[in-house]
């Protein structure tokens, strides 16, 4: 059993090791190791296209994670008290949002938004007051990236938080109400501490999803380039150690974030125990 686990861990980590190893390749061709060098990190970090793509990805992922955990949690809390046909409609929408492949969301959003924008832009041009300066043009970009990523991640947060609420001890909420706590106070002191790990998990999953997503972004990014889009087009042009250097940095960032999240979770647990 233990041997099996070790084998799976090797399977999971050897490819990452290969990426890291070849990021230090002094040679020009990625698969031919010619001595140790960090020059590709310098190349990646001084490449304005890489830095632009990274900024775009971080902004989009962070905004997506905030919106998804906020809206997802509030929807999960509200849905507790929604019954009957309305509940079934929401469940169906959550189900479809999660079920549908990212690629379908990508193309559907692309053609829907382009069609809507083609309709709205002339209208906007006609009614825009001169005094307010240049007429804005609706286009694919940050907003469409964030909006499309938030759909899936919000549904994910709803499911995660709802599962946590379902597993929660109802008696505590009732006890709190019996002891004359206001609903808001019950939420802050009873519900929130119990669902907090689920919200944080939802936030982290949302960030990850958005930061990693290639396929939806590929369709709805417009003239923007996210990091995965940049890497994909680089691979298409040829395998270089620069891609490995970017990959290694992405791995490093993720690790830091994950440790940070773990620290947060533990800190909370201790504080709760101390009280």
């Amino acid at each position: 059993m233990r041997l099996y686990a070790i084998a799976v861990y090797l399977f999971l980590y050897i490819p990452l090791g290969v990426i890291v190893l070849f990021s230090f390749n002094a040679g020009r061709h990625a698969s031919d190791f010619r001595g140790f060098s960090v020059k590709w990190y310098g190349a990646a970090l001084s490449n304005p296209f890489v830095m632009d793509a990274l900024t775009t990805s971080l902004v989009v992922a962070f905004t997506t994670a905030v919106l998804a955990s906020l809206f997802g949690t509030s929807a999960a809390l509200a849905l507790q008290r929604v019954q009957g046909r309305l509940r079934a409609i929401y469940d169906a929408m959550i189900y479809v949002a999660i079920m549908i492949p990212g690629i379908v969301i990508g193309i559907a959003t692309l053609i829907a938004l382009v069609t809507v924008f083609d309709f709205l832009n002339p209208l906007l041009e006609a009614v825009w007051p001169m005094a307010m300066g240049e007429v804005p043009r609706l286009n694919l970009g940050y907003a469409s990236l964030i909006a499309a990523h938030t759909l899936f991640t919000m549904a994910l947060v709803i499911v995660i938080v709802r599962a946590r609420i379902a597993g929660m001890d109802r008696a505590l909420v009732e006890a709190s109400a019996d002891l004359y706590a206001t609903p808001w106070r019950t939420f802050l002191q009873v519900t929130l501490p119990q669902i907090y790990p689920a919200i944080l998990a939802g936030f982290l999953l949302s960030f990850t999803f958005s930061f990693d997503d290639f396929i939806i972004a590929f369709f709805v990014a417009g003239f923007e380039t996210t990091l995965p889009i940049y890497v994909f087009s680089s691979i298409r042009r040829g395998v270089t150690p620069e891609i490995n250097a970017i990959g290694t940095m992405v791995l490093g960032t993720s690790l830091t974030l994950l440790i940070f999240a773990q620290f947060l979770l533990r800190g909370r647990g201790r504080a709760a125990a101390g009280r």
Binding site: V18, V82, M93, I107, A147, I215, V250
Partner: protein
């Protein structure tokens, strides 16, 4: 009365998102799938079934997807289950969190970069070179269905392990003790107690992996070398290269229908087997 308004307020953003970013785009896809292609690409309004009649033109993509997505899901499940079991039941509690994090960390790096790693490993200077050293020559791994399958298992393993781990972790360990106290050998305890109770996790994991695989584009694009063509690859081609929105919409609509039918059949089977609805209340 006040509670009702708060509830509505809490639901507003989610509702808006579902309507504008999910319902509207899907309606557009369905409408466009009955339209025609414009002379310069895009869409021209019409009402015709021509696009659907033309679907057999992409038969290979459908066939590859419907063969490799279930195969990949089962392969990922077979690799993931023992690991999830080890983590939830056998692992030292002190290291459990760390070990779980180690499974999830690869999932934190982009699937693109993880798939890219396999271009090295399966490519000419990777495993084939090692095999040559021990005398096995002429093995080609990259750009084959096998490479795509390896990429699938590698990419989706964490997603499969996690829900199974959660369901096994929730499982009351006293049930296992009770079973062994009553004289059941370990395998029987596993088959009659552990396995049935972990079915919701298995179902969730399979569902997640299968859905993502149905729309997979990257893994076949990078490891299949254009020879293993999925529906996802056909869609990218139709929307971004040939700009045939009407036919592309028909392919996408068909993909969604095939997927929903398969998944709902599958879930129904799973639920009957487990007799437990709670974890899949989503459906």
């Amino acid at each position: 009365m006040q509670g009702k308004w708060i509830n509505r307020l809490l639901l507003t953003p989610a509702t808006a998102w579902f309507l504008v970013m999910l319902v509207l785009p899907l309606v557009v896809v369905v409408v466009f799938s009955f339209g025609e292609r414009g002379a310069a690409g895009g869409y021209v309004p019409a009402f015709t079934f021509d696009q659907y009649a033309n679907l057999p033109a992409r038969f290979t993509a459908f066939k590859n997807t419907l063969l490799l997505a279930p195969t990949g899901t089962v392969a990922a499940l077979l690799v993931a289950y023992p690991l999830a079991y080890f983590l939830a039941v056998k692992a030292d509690p002190r290291f459990k969190t760390l070990l779980l994090i180690l499974v999830i960390v690869p999932f934190w790096t982009s699937i693109l970069i993880r798939t890219y790693a396999w271009i090295f490993i399966l490519g000419g200077r990777g495993i084939p070179l090692l095999l040559e050293l021990i005398g096995i020559e002429g093995v080609r791994l990259i750009n084959t269905p096998f490479a795509v399958l390896v990429g699938i298992v590698y990419g989706y393993l964490p997603l499969m392990v996690f829900p199974i781990f959660v369901s096994l972790e929730k499982l009351d360990k006293r049930l296992l003790e009770a079973s062994s106290d009553l004289g059941a050998p370990p395998f029987r305890t596993f088959r009659q107690v552990t396995l049935p109770l972990s079915i919701p996790g298995v179902a969730t994991g399979c569902m997640l992996v299968f859905i993502l695989l149905m729309g997979e584009f990257l893994i076949p694009a990078l490891l299949g070398g254009g020879k293993v063509f999925f529906i996802g690859n056909a869609l990218v081609d139709l929307f971004l290269q040939s700009r045939n929105w009407a036919f592309g919409s028909a392919v996408a609509a068909t993909l969604v229908v095939v997927m929903l039918v398969t998944v709902s059949l599958y879930m129904r089977l799973m639920m009957r087997g487990a007799g437990q609805r709670e974890d899949v209340s989503l459906l």
